[in-house]
């Protein structure tokens, strides 16, 4: 208080109050002297004259106050200060009320600030690129990948973009002479930096003229933070040669600190020219039109070109490409989107989710306001006598209302500050959070000016919102009646504003409780749904052999050595290799044709399965059960006929049934006939919410792949197995950079969206529950305390417990029931939206319904318990004696 006072005084000093004070004092003194002179002349003594002058002048202090107001306008800082001081005194007198009110608001505003900061960080925040408004990500088909020749055609044939750049996310190894390490980077087209308008921080950035065909540009550009942390800002780094995936690359420059690439969620350590893709990865796909591996393309639209025109232009290129290369080109359409969140693929669901959270957070705040509105109205009713007295003593209604509003705004600002502080703490934690074990998430959630502004604005708005609730009450108050009759009054049967508020609030809380239950239930189910694999008991390791310099034939040889080495670990049941485990957010799709199809354009494809390259033993190691036929053996190699294992959905779609599939043939994109030798169960491949999808498994030996995942199933402790695996890898090749993780942990990342949804809804649901408890409690406690005397009389006249309870709490319980039912229905409707994020989140689940009803019932019981006890323990004698 002292502190606040001093600040306020300082503010007042700004308005030169003290100078004015002296002036007013002087003038009043001069007036009194002049008057006293006159009175003295009429025969009074000087002392008596001065006394009379003072009396005639009237309330000196009051007029001084009025003079200040007149001199500086009515709404002076001064008045405000005194009102604030008064409010603080009033609030200090009822600390319980103040703490509950501030706490409620702190929760609600904190939640809003946090959700807004997240929204700000991942949806509203720009990439900080020059002229970002005209920058678009080009999206194609269902995931956006294009082939490099496609990109070159898009770049050279379009007439709508200033230029189009392409980039791909890679994870190469780097060897600077000490420890080899893995890092994350972009392979980018030569025109990438020019297209974005990025100037080097140091040295130079690669450019279009560096590209002279495949593998012609062995240059690397370092990201600023990587340069800063790993090369200690060494300016002599330019010109040095480093090993990327065991290939020599020359460092030519460093990007500026503000540049974090063109994706919001990751900051690349290095940039490598896209034309060196084959050399870096040991692939042969740069010039293959059918291999769609280029992650994303971006470009600035020319001035005056609309996104729709740009997309139409690209689609006409797409039509041309399809006509020219019918085999290789898919029928996908082009769209333009915002680049930061990988266009609409990630952006749309994220925006929908965060937007939904924001809405829920606002609902929480609304509920909190309703809650506080009820509290304030109840308080205003209790203070009716005080207000009446002040009115009777000549205070204006205007002044009293301002006083009440000042109290409300003070509370809301205090709540806002506490809430903001809490949310800033959580933001720090959130920024450091790495939900994906392998992927360096880079989303700094920082409180910037807009977050502060939103928090303060919300606080002020809610203060005004719940502050005006009791206004009608005050305006209606008739001082004479209240003073005469005392504050208690008719237990009105009419629906009051307070009731409406309480019902609204309970309904909002019921919505939150219902949707969080729906989400939790969905998450529980998705944890137990059939994944088509059994991660429990499996440790997986990833080693990209291309990083260690393996190329061509040596890859297959090394993979076989790895397989054999892992089998020798004690306690290991089965070992399998794969190019990629399912549910690792990175599945490769392909197209297949019936064996009769001769026109192999993608529109004639019979299925679009996910494709996995796996070794013998993979299905046993992964826990995928074989339904018919056989798995792979080491004889299914390059010299043997081409074979495949498919899942049940593939068999159904391509051959009609499982028995029909085994032994039969289908055609792959290159026209080769492949025989199905086995059928395995269906599973989940890309995410948990996907429908049944066909999947195709090919022998690793028949389609070699350098990035190797090893699945080791063992009954031993995963940590021991992991350690043993690491030793084996080291024995095989010291240069291998291996990532080892237990499979259940690795697979968590695929559950991330539903976990996130459940967590946030759970937290919001909890807040909703807390708010409804305090709301109902406040209402019930208030109605009991108002009717204590009536209840006392009832008890004295012999009312039974149920009757007393019904009289005391009937209304609160009725309102609770109405609100809960309304909220439940709304919640079930809202949960339909949830179904898209949380797997199997069905709102029609009887358990959810039961749970929601039970939860609301419990909340009601909890909230009315204490008031009910109080009502029952009323001692009529004390009450009747009281007044």
């Amino acid at each position: 208080m002292k502190f606040l006072d001093s600040i306020l005084l300082r503010i007042a000093a700004l308005f030169r109050r003290s100078e004015q004070n002296a002036e007013v004092d002087d003038e009043v003194a001069s007036h009194l002297q002049l008057r006293a002179d006159d009175l003295e002349r009429s025969g009074l003594s000087r002392a008596e004259a001065e006394r009379r002058a003072r009396i005639e002048f009237g309330g000196e202090e009051r007029y001084k106050e009025e003079i200040h107001e007149a001199a500086s306008g009515i709404n002076s800082v001064e008045t405000l200060c005194s009102e604030i001081r008064f409010s603080l005194r009033v609030l200090k007198k009822s600390p319980g009320f103040t703490i509950v009110a501030v706490g409620t608001l702190a929760l609600a505003i904190g939640a809003n600030a946090l959700v807004f900061a997240v929204l700000n960080a991942i949806v509203l925040r720009p990439l900080n690129l020059p002229d970002e408004k005209s920058l678009y990500a080009i999206e194609r088909g269902t995931n956006g990948f294009v082939s490099y020749p496609d990109y070159v055609d898009m770049r050279d044939r379009n007439r709508s973009f200033q230029s189009i750049a392409a980039f791909n996310i890679i994870q190469p190894s780097i060897d600077t002479g000490h420890e080899p390490a893995r890092l994350w980077g972009y392979e980018a087209s030569g025109n990438y930096f020019e297209t974005l308008g990025i100037k080097p921080h140091l040295g130079r950035l690669f450019q279009a003229s560096d590209e002279q065909g495949s593998n012609s540009a062995p240059y690397v550009v370092l990201g600023y933070s990587y340069w800063h942390s790993h090369f200690q800002d060494d300016p002599n780094i330019v010109g040095r040669t480093v090993q990327l995936n065991k290939q020599p690359y020359t460092v030519i420059g460093v990007t500026p600190p503000s540049f974090q690439g063109t994706l919001l969620f990751m900051s690349p350590d290095v940039f490598v020219p896209l034309v060196n893709h084959d050399q870096l990865g040991g692939n042969d796909e740069l010039n293959a039109r059918s291999k769609h591996w280029v992650f994303d393309t971006v470009g600035h639209l020319k001035p005056g070109v609309t996104p729709a025109q740009g997309a139409a232009d690209l689609n006409s290129i797409g039509d041309y490409l399809r006509a020219t290369y019918p085999k290789e080109e898919p029928t996908w359409k082009f769209k333009l989107g915002r680049p930061s969140l990988y266009g609409s693929f990630l952006g749309d669901p994220i925006k929908a989710f965060v937007g939904g959270l924001m809405l829920l957070a606002m609902l929480i705040l609304l509920a909190a306001c309703a809650n506080l509105g009820t509290l304030f109205a109840a308080r205003a009713a209790d203070r009716a006598r005080e207000v009446a007295l002040r009115l009777a003593l000549g205070s204006s209604r205007h002044r009293i209302l301002r006083q009440l509003l000042t109290e409300a705004v003070l509370i809301s600002l205090a709540g806002g500050v506490v809430g903001l502080a809490g949310s800033i703490f959580l933001m720090r934690r959130l920024s450091e959070w790495q939900p994906f074990p392998r992927f360096p998430l880079h989303v700094p959630v920082t409180p910037d000016a807009s977050v502060y502004a939103v928090a303060v604005l919300l606080a002020l708005m809610s203060g005004l919102l719940f502050g005006i609730v009791p206004i009608r009450q005050v305006l209606r108050a008739n001082p004479y009646e209240v003073v005469k009759a005392g504050p208690s009054s008719v237990g009105g049967r009419r629906l009051t504003l307070r009731d409406v508020l309480l019902v609204t609030q309970i309904a909002i809380c019921a919505v939150l409780v219902t949707s969080s239950l729906v989400a939790v239930r969905g998450l529980m189910r998705s944890m137990h749904s059939n994944l088509g694999v059994e991660p429990q008991g499996v440790v997986i390791a990833e080693a990209d052999l291309s990083m260690a310099g393996y190329r061509g034939e040596s890859v297959a040889t090394m993979q076989k050595r790895i397989f054999s080495a892992m089998e020798t670990i004690p306690g290991v049941k089965t070992v399998g290799l794969a190019d990629e485990p399912p549910l690792d957010m990175n599945a490769i799709g392909t197209v297949v044709f019936t064996d009769k199809t001769t026109d192999l354009r993608s529109s004639n494809a019979i299925a679009h399965p996910w494709m996995y390259r796996v070794s013998p033993g993979y299905f046993e190691a992964a826990g995928t059960s074989l339904l018919a036929g056989r798995g792979f053996t080491w004889h299914d190699d390059n010299h043997a006929p081409r074979v495949a294992v498919v899942n049940r959905e593939f068999a159904r779609k391509v051959f009609g049934s499982v028995p029909d599939a085994v032994g039969h043939y289908f055609k792959r994109q290159d026209g080769s006939l492949t025989q199905v030798v086995g059928v395995v169960e269906d599973g989940k491949y890309f995410n948990l919410t996907e429908d049944l999808t066909p999947a195709l498994f090919l022998p690793l030996a028949q389609s070699p792949w350098a990035d190797t995942w090893v699945l080791v199933r063992s009954s031993e402790d995963p940590e021991h197995v992991a350690a043993a695996m690491r030793t084996k890898f080291r024995e095989l090749d010291e240069g291998l950079l291996v990532y080892i993780q237990s499979w259940p942990k690795e697979i968590q990342s695929v559950l991330f969206p539903s976990r996130m949804a459940t967590l946030s809804l759970g937290v919001l649901g909890m807040m909703g529950a807390i708010l409804s408890i305090t709301g109902i409690f406040g209402m019930a406690a208030y109605s009991v305390s108002k009717r204590l005397r009536e209840l006392g009389i009832r008890i004295a006249l012999g009312a039974r417990r149920e009757e007393v309870l019904r009289a005391a709490l009937g209304r609160a319980v009725r309102l609770l029931a109405i609100g809960s039912v309304a909220g439940l229905i709304l919640g079930l409707l809202a949960s339909r939206v949830l179904a898209s994020i949380v797997y199997q989140a069905s709102p029609r689940d009887p358990l959810v319904l039961f749970g929601a009803v039970l939860a609301m019932g419990l909340l009601g019981l909890l909230a009315t318990w204490i008031p009910a006890q109080r009502a029952l323990s009323v001692d009529p004698l004390i009450l009747l004696r009281d007044e």
Binding site: S30, L34, G58, G59, I67, A70, A71, G73
Partner: protein, 113 residues
Amino acid sequence: MPDQAQLLPGTLDLLILKAVSLGPLHGYGVLLRIGQISGETLLIEQGALYPALFRLVRQGLLKANWGTSENNRRAKFYELTAAGRKRLREETEGWNRLAGAIASALAAQPEEA
């Protein structure tokens, strides 16, 4: 009470402007002058004068300077500004019109139709 509170501010301002228009005055002098020119019928509570004076200064209708009174007391003297003079003219006209209208309204006699 409430009636007076509504009526007073406008008329008090007008009276102050009129009083000061006859020559610079200190606050106490304004009171005496109003009493004198209204034939001692309009009495103003002494303290109530000052908020009005400060308000008029803030509105730029009066200006104030410290000086010395006839009996050698330090006092703040008020005089009309150009804006104050203009306002006085307008307010006087307005007041006369209103007073005339009310007077004739009140003088009306019931008429046979």
